[in-house]
Symmetry: C2
Subunit: 245 residues, 2 copies
């Protein structure tokens, strides 16, 4: 058996997220069914990040074990010949048996994108959260500095996730303005709590609207209280950009 | 009657182009039906550019006459409340009765986008033409210089368009590389023949693949022979960016 690592790009619009579930189509299921078509093996695919419904990926990483004789580098082309056009395998290679897409991951990088103008976008509307207000990007970047480093991010976790250790390390966090009207939040960390990026972005937007202060980011972080943070912004602005090993 | 000018953004994926036609849904028809819902008037909307099926717009301009009392600046919001999400009105204002979206236009700007990597894009796949080869962008930009200025573009017109005067002026034409793998062709001119941008791009791609020389662009232009130019690339990479008055 060989262990194959693949890098995936997908448009999450029409899927119930990465993880296999009953009564809803997941990306994991579609990839596993594509592998079945190619190999006639019932293969479990392990994904690095369990992206939610509507969340996209430009650099999801997954691995699977196979007895197939398809050359490792050809798996990307073989899979793309049977996958739907909203899921593409960008790379495939053989890795050691110890490699595990989730447990071996050292860091992940996400991007959240906003379209900031009076009217919603028509083009690429599934990739941008529409905010009709003018946001103060400088204030948002000043607030972003507070989350860099190792902190307890309990205040930025959706209720009922059941995770006990809520301490995570954020390596990079900043906003970039792309003319004429787009904002992108880049964040890289060693791990993320459930809905952490989307609650952080919801809080940044409140700061950008001057409904919260820059320093409120520090106060909310220290409080550990989800109710003090901003709302969870919609899934479709979020994209898993890269997984580091 | 007031003359109202609107600026439109649309995702052309699900439409048979701008112009109203039988047995297929056009953007013009959808906008006219939205105006009927708002005003109960049978209004004809004049578009600046008759974009083809699958072609997008970030800055299509249109105008129409109405007796409605909706304030001109509110038309954008009113129309967006009844239009589907793949068509958005970005601006609306009252203009003089002489203004005609097509005949008053001084210049138009288009963009053609390419995804240049082994595998097709999953994200934003309706906005990029996939080219699995590595293109020589420097050669393409060198060739682009030959089309700037006033020329007879007969060689870059699809057969059967029936236009007699095929002389047009191109003000700007250049390729931009956007990391990691995107190419955008920007072109601004006083007018464009049928499929002119798509045939030009098809020719640039042949030059980028070194199947044609940079200087072939000049030779093809002077020949006036459609058969000497490259293929017509697909519609979905094309976007009407701006109309100048």
């Amino acid at each position: 058996m060989r262990n194959i690592k693949i890098v995936l790009e997908y448009d999450g619009t029409n899927y119930a997220g990465w993880q296999r579930q009953k009564n809803a189509l997941s990306i994991q299921q579609v990839v596993e069914e594509a592998l079945y078509k190619l190999t006639k093996e019932r293969i479990t695919v392990i994904g690095a990040g369990r992206t939610d419904s509507g969340v996209h990926a430009r650099g999801q990483v997954a691995n699977f074990f196979t007895a197939s004789r398809i050359p490792a580098e050809r798996f990307s082309f073989a899979l793309n010949s049977v996958l739907p056009p909203d899921i593409r395998v960008l790379e495939s290679q053989e890795v050691s048996h110890e490699f595990h897409a989730r447990y071996s991951a050292k860091a992940k990088q996400y991007r959240y994108s906003i379209c900031m103008r009076p009217h919603a976008p028509a083009i690429a509307r599934n990739y941008y959260y529409h905010v009709p207000d003018i946001l103060d990007v400088e204030a948002m970047n000043a607030a972003a500095k507070y989350i860099i480093g190792t902190h307890d991010f309990k205040a930025f976790q959706s209720a009922g996730s059941g995770v006990k250790n809520t301490v995570r390390t954020v390596y990079e966090a900043y906003w970039v303005w792309e003319p004429p009207c787009y904002l992108h939040f880049h964040i890289k960390g060693n791990g993320f709590l459930y809905n952490m990026v989307r609650i952080l972005v919801g809080t940044f937007i409140e700061i950008g609207r001057h409904r919260m202060l820059e320093s409120d980011m520090k106060r909310i972080l220290e409080s550990g209280d989800r109710d003090k943070a901003g709302p969870t912004v919609p899934a479709h602005g979020l994209c898993l950009e890269k997984v580091y090993y």
